[in-house]
Symmetry: C2
Subunit: 480 residues, 2 copies
């Protein structure tokens, strides 16, 4: 396919995308296929000669769409939202065309420099402390990581290198292994599984601390854990606190946790993957109070800021502590402007290569403007509150936790088993899609407002489906 044909096929794809997203509510959000469905629909081997575009295009509906979970359906309420918008798609198209690998400033200056600028834009939108921004004197700055999992891992590894260097300076005879055996990281029992995974990769002990009755990690709990570990001769070095947990959208008390971390030289990383986007609205900014005590912070514009996956925005107060953990500098990657003014982002992340992801962020911020993005957040929070009210008005149900942003956790009053049945029936029914969770042995359902186009009518539709299924469940004699 050369340029002339692409002009035609590109237009067809643009129309296909617009048709898909405009009419997505006509598709069931969760597919009706069984594992292994796809291999029977395509050959076992790649074709030896090229096929026509028409045959490939026809297979989108024949092979792909039957197996797609439609995250942008207004009837999709599972997990958390993932961003999608036309400006972001346009930005990604341009990124693909330029197709540069932005590992160093020289490998494509615009790729690094636009990222520096949009990270400062985003940081200002969140009213982050100035120490996190590039634009101020100091060592701070931001980077687009792929995912929150990577941001957490980079933070943990940076903290690990920092503490190991400090320990070895004080105790030159200690081996790395002896230090590693003493390091302790902390997080809450509500934090994302990727935090435990980061500790597994970093090969350090992690304690998943209990939360209060709202699902929040509080200062006293951390203080007690740190004191106990120090008494045992261990070395506390890292805390991953969460602003907006996955199960409950609960909020760790970072304004309590931060001063404790600073007192003990513990690196506090704040993961606000989902909730961070809401903090561009002044009325939700309080959720980040205390972030000034953290060494690093991330949130995912690819969740709730209409930017397509992947885009996790991460800031650090001292970028030398991050690059110090990763720096490798062979000649074929050196360039004459190295280290001057602009960062070489390869030293800030796990992969070496990187896409020109700031383009999609730039397009989204400019075409929606801050007010357009705030409007989207506020609409979703309002819909969640309205769904919460529908639940509260039905005496068979109870709300689990609090409805602060776009997530409502709810359950049938009574045993977990009834809720497990309800969850299965809702998802088997396939008109809407959601996922369950469990906190302190209480099983519940999660209703997240996900798609950009979700409206009140979709929320009432979802509730009518849930009520209808619940009504039918009540007709089944117990014991069957």
């Amino acid at each position: 396919m050369e340029a002339d044909e692409f002009r035609q096929r590109g237009r067809e794809m643009v129309d296909y995308i617009a048709d898909y997203l405009e009419n997505i509510n006509q598709r069931r959000p969760f597919p009706e296929v069984s594992p292994g469905y796809l291999k029977h629909l395509i050959p076992d081997e790649a074709p030896s000669s090229g096929e026509s575009w028409d045959s490939v295009k026809a297979d989108i509906e024949r092979v792909i769409m039957p197996g797609v979970t439609h995250w942008h359906s207004p009837h999709f309420h599972a997990y958390y939202p993932t961003g999608n918008s036309y400006p972001a798609i346009l930005g990604d198209m341009l990124s693909d065309a330029i197709g540069c690998i932005g590992f160093s400033w020289a490998s494509s200056p615009a790729c690094t420099e636009l990222e520096v600028s949009v990270m400062d834009w985003l940081g200002k939108m969140l009213q982050l402390p100035k120490e996190f921004l590039f634009s101020e004197e100091g060592k701070g700055g931001g980077i687009i990581q792929g995912t929150a999992s990577e941001a957490t891992l980079v933070a943990l590894l940076s903290a690990r290198t920092t503490i190991i260097n400090k320990q070895r300076a004080e105790n030159p005879n200690m081996t790395q292994g002896q230090i590693i055996d003493k390091l302790v990281a902390y997080t809450s029992e509500q934090s994302h599984s990727s935090v435990e995974r980061a500790a597994l990769i970093g090969m350090v002990t992690i304690r998943t601390l209990p939360t209060d009755d709202k699902g929040s990690l509080v200062g006293d709990t951390l203080q007690a854990a740190i004191s106990t570990d120090i008494e045992k001769g261990l070395i506390p070095f890292f805390l991953c606190a969460t602003v907006g947990t996955t199960s409950l959208c609960s909020f760790d008390k970072i304004s309590e946790l931060g001063p404790i971390c600073n007192k003990y030289g513990v690196w506090m990383h704040v993961d606000a993957a989902y909730a961070g986007s809401a903090c561009i609205c002044p009325e939700f900014r309080y959720l980040l109070d205390g972030v000034e005590h953290s060494m690093s912070f991330n949130f995912n514009p690819h969740k709730w800021l209409m930017v397509n996956f992947d885009c996790s925005a991460m800031w650090v107060k001292d970028r030398t502590l991050v690059s110090g953990a990763f720096e490798m500098d062979p000649l074929y990657l050196k360039h004459e402007h190295q280290g001057q003014i602009m960062p070489d982002y390869r030293h800030w992340q796990i992969p070496l290569g990187r896409r020109f992801r700031s383009l999609k962020v730039w397009f989204v911020l400019r075409m929606f403007g801050i007010s357009g993005l705030q409007q989207q957040i506020r609409k979703d929070v309002l819909l969640a509150k309205q769904f919460g009210q529908l639940v509260a008005d039905d005496s068979r149900f109870e709300i689990v936790g609090e409805v602060t942003l776009g997530l409502v956790c709810f359950r049938l009053k009574g045993p977990n088993s009834a809720n497990e049945t309800l969850n299965k029936k809702i998802n088997d029914d396939r008109r809407i899609h959601l996922v369950p969770s469990k906190v302190k042995d209480t099983y519940f359902l999660r209703f997240a407002v996900c798609a950009r186009g979700t409206q009140m009518s979709d929320v009432t539709f979802a509730w009518s489906v849930i009520r209808e299924i619940t009504d039918k469940m009540a007709l089944i004699p117990t014991g069957q």
Copy 2:
């Protein structure tokens, strides 16, 4: 921006992309900007209200393009190629529109299942041993990682978990730190910097072993290193061998290294990031002889198989050893078909989330066909050989290493300083772009055939630029 406007703006972007790539040879491959150029061209903050598409679009040429390194210019000969093709761009557009996060089978079955199928397609194209494929009985399978750095890290961490589990079973009183202090990984002094970085992250000792006069790691060297380490009471556990190194495109002797690794229970990972693509041509498949001894293998379709970044194809012989290193399973990610037939790829990689990257691979394989991809590889190798001949015919120059695939390493006979000057003058001249490297204290220039559209006329143009600059250098009296 809603669907109607996207239909219009999407067409404009498609035309912009076609225009950009069709006329890219009219742009200088390396930009003439200094660090910090971009921030003066855009505001310090995101706009409060949305801007028009026209203002955003105009800024592509005003703000972005002046700072782009044009990797797809036929005058770009730096690093190694990165893939770009119209079918891949169309596949990525569709991936963005679907915008699913494919961390588990249930989160979008098509995303997992197409990846399973295209990984088997690619594996068959490379004639990989059957143990690596999903389609056979056994524990093998493939995954699309973002980059070769991540594939190497995943391999190293999987090997680390495997050996630690084995050691702890034999010595239950040993701590993780005590084991870590004894682990030794190996690679060659020519392997990519990301291998050392993986060891740094994995917190294990790594030995960068010397290569022979062709830049290859040979069996005797590895055997000697393993024997010495075992005598010291250390535990050899991992080798990253390279097929097509970055500096020289040299080839480790994996058919010698593999049996040694198997004898000592060392996990051999083979990184063929660049050269792997060539192995779809029967005449180059010999480069992978010995891969049957490896536990894991990767190459980057995003380098030389016309797939846009990011796409590193990785296969493992025993996927339980990979998922065993990473598995975390909270309820909100569980689904009823878990572990049945289809993999949950989140257990195979560093990030949790993942894009629908198999679409672009599928589009490329189908629209070019195997023969179309082979044709591209063969064209590039031929161009490199022809460039090598031009160098060899000029008595002032010498070839460094061998021209096996699409890379020619060359230098002016004489001191490194003359070559450093030549490199700087070529890049300051800006008509072509390349990067230098250094092996065993010999500094040289690397000429890689990169862009899909590079033709013989571009190669002779590049050589004429190099000759012209060399001629001028000869006119400058020595000592100045």
